[in-house]
Amino acid sequence: MRDYIIRRLLGLIPILIGISLAIFIIMQLIPGDVVSGILGIEQTPELRAMWEKKLGLDKPLVEQYLTWIGKAVTGDFGESFRTGAPVFPEILSRFKISAELAIMGCVFAWIIALPLGIISALKRNSVIDRIVRVIALMGVSIPNFASATLVILFLAKGFNYHTPVKYVGLFENFGTNMEIMVIPALILGSVMAGSVMRMTRSSMLEVLRQDYIKAVRAKGASERVTIFRHALRNSSIPIITLIGMQIGSLMGGTVVIEQIFSIPGLGQFTLTGINQRDYPVVQGCVLFIAVLYVLVNLLVDILYTYIDPRITYN
C-alpha cells in the first residue's frame, strides 16, 4: 500500500508539469494581456515598455516559465500583478471558503440522495420510485446558475430577502456565515444529489439481484442488516467513484455559485484573475486545483480497499 501511494504521488510530477505548461501557454494565448488591462486607454509604447519590464514580461517565455515553476515548487506562487499580494497565502484562505461551500454541498447532497436512492431501489417502479427519479432528473438537468438566479429572485420578490452581502468567516460569526452559505450550498448540493441518487439506485438494484443477498435473506437476516450491512457496502464502490469525481467538479461548480452569491472563494479568485489577466493568480489557482483533484482521486482509490478488502494495489 505504501509503495502504491508513493508511486501515485510520483505520478503527480509529470501531470503537474503538463498542467503548469498548459496553463502557462493558455494564459499567453488568450487575447488581451495584463499590461493592456492595467493601462486601459492610457496605453503608450513607453508606458507599455515600463510595465513589461516591471512585471518581468520582457523576458523570453521559456525564462518566464522556468522562473515561475522554479519558485512554485517551493510554494512561492509569486505576487498578484494587480494587488501586489502574495498568491499562495491568498489561495489557502480562499480555499477554506470554497471547501466549506463544497463540503456543505456534498453533505446536503448525501443527506438527500442516499436515502432516496435506496428507497427508490427497494420500492422499484412504485410511485415513490417514480417521484424520486423525476426529482433526480430535475436535479441533474437544471444548471445551478439557473436555479441560483431563480432562488435569488424568489427570495427577494417573495420574502424581501437577500443573503448578507458582507462575507463573514465561519469562525468569526457562525450564524451569519451559515446564513450566507446555506442557500448556495443547497443549490450546489441539488445538482450533485441528482446524479448520486441515480447512481445509488442503479447500483443498489444490481447488488440486490445477486445471489449472496438471497443467501443473506435465507439465513434469516433482518431487512435492515441485509440492506445496510450487505447490500449498501457492496454497491458503494461506484457511488464513491462518482462522489470523488464530483468533489473535483464541485470546485468548478463553486465558480458560478460564488460569483452569483458574491462569496470570495477560490473560484471567484480564479475568475477575477482571469478577467484581470493576473497570470500569477490564475496559474497558481489552476495548479492548486489540479493537485487537489489528483489527491482526492488518490484518496478515493485508497478508500476502495477499506470498503472492499478484495481490492489490493500490489
Partner: protein, 504 residues
Amino acid sequence: MKKLLALVLVMMLALTVVPSVLAEGNVLRYGMETEPAGFDPHTCSSHASIRVMSQVYNQLVDLDENLVVIPEIAKTWEVSDDLLTYTFHLADNVTFHSGRKMTAADVKYSFERILSPELGALGNSSSYAGDIETIETPDDYTVVMRLKSPSVTFLSNVSSIYCSIVDKDVVEAKGDLLQADGGTGPYTLGEYVPDNHVFVNAYADHFDPAFKASFDAIEFYTMTDANSRLNALRAGTIDLIVADTAMLDLVKPEDPIQEISYQTRDYFALFMNCTRAPYDDVRVRQAINYALNREEIIDFAFNGQAAVSGFVPASMGHWAVDVTEKDYYTQNIEKAKALLAEAGYPDGFETVITVGLNDGIRDIGMVVQQQLEAIGIKADVQNEENATYIDKWKAHDLDIMVCQNGAGSDPNRGVAFFFSTTGSANIQNYSNARVDELCVLGAGEADVDKREAIYKEAINIILDECATATVACPKAYFLATPALQGYAPNASSTSNFAGVTIAK
C-alpha cells in the same frame, strides 16, 4: 418519508429567512459590477478602483460639471503668460490620514513618483503630468511647475485621479499603495476582503468642509452578477448599485427603486477610412451620414436611452456643437443616393464594417448594415474578437469601423487626439491642414472664448467633411433606494458623495 423530507427542506429554508439586516450607523452600501484592481491612484485605472480611490485621495485641483477648474489642495494658482510656468498656492491645513501635515514637498514627491521611469504611472503621459520639466518648492505651501512646452490644458490634466497627492512615508514603508492608504481624502481606506468588499471610513480631520464625509463609512461590495445586485437592492441589503440599460427593463414600477443617470462623455461613431476608396471621396462619406437613421440605431442598441451626439458631446458643456442642426444628421435616402451617384457609385458598392469589444458597438454595426442597404451599399459586418479588433484599430486597417471613444475633459483631446493628421487615435487617416493649424492654436490659447471659437471652427470642418459619422452619446446608470438623496453624478465626478444622505 416524503412528508419528513418536505418538513426538513422547509425548516432549512425557514432558518435562512430571517429579516434582512439593516446597515448599522450612517453607512452607504454600494454594489459594484467588478472587483477593484488595487488602490494605488498612480497605477490603477479600473472603474471600481477609481470609485474607491476618489474617496481616499485628493488632487491639486478639480473640475466641476461644466469642466471649470476648481480648487482642491491648491487654493489658488497663477499661470505665466507663456503658459509654461504654473504656480500653485496650497491650503495649509491639509493632513494625510497618518495625521502628518501635507506640504509642498509632498506635492513635489507625488509628481516625481508619477514621472519616475520605473513606476509606469498612468499620469506619465502628456495627457496628464508628462509635460512637467521641473518642480520647485520656494516655501512649504507653494509649488512651481515648469513645463516642457506651453499648455492650456495642464490644470485640467492634473485634476485627474492619476495625479493624486500621496504620502511619501507610506509609499516608502509599503513599497506601493496597492493596498495601503497614503491619501488626504474625506475617507480612509478600511477593511478589504478581495472579491467581496472594501470599506472606507470617514476621516474627521479632512481639510475642506465642502468635501467632508457625509457618511460614517461607505461599503463597496463586489457583486458581479447583475441579477444578484438588483435583488439585493430590492431586498434592502444594498443602497446603490451600478446598472445598465438591460437592467432597467427589469425594474417594475412597484419596486422601491430610483433610477439615477448622467450623460457620459463617450460617443459611438462610424469611422471611415479617408485614404481608402471609396471613402476618400467626401461625397461618399456624406452619403453614409445621410443614410443613417440615428434614432432607430439608438432604439435598437441602447433601448432608446442615448442622445444623438457629435464627437464633442453635449456633456462637454459650452465646447459642444449641436449636431442635430446639421442637415446630414437627418436621414435623407434620396440625397444619399444622389451623392453616391455623383461620386460614381449609382448602384452602391460592397464594404466591410468592423465591430467588436462591446454589445453597443456590435448592435450599431447590425442596424447600420440594414440602413446602408437602402442606398445600395452591401456591408459585411465582421465581428472581431477583442484583440483582433484592437490590432485592426492600431493598424488603421478598416473600411468602416464602429468605435466607442471618450471625448476627455478638454476639447484638445476630443479634437486633436482623434482628428489631427498626427493624432494618436486618428484611425480614419483624416487630414485637413486647417484643422491641424486650429489644433495647435487651441492648445496654446489661454482665453476661453477664443479657444471655444477655435475648436468650434475645427469641429464644424470635421463634421462637414464627414470624417466620421457619429451616432450617440450613451448614459451611465445607477439604481438606488428611494431613501438615497442628493447623489447627482456627472461625467466629471461619478463618485462624489459629499452632501449625500440616506433618509432613515
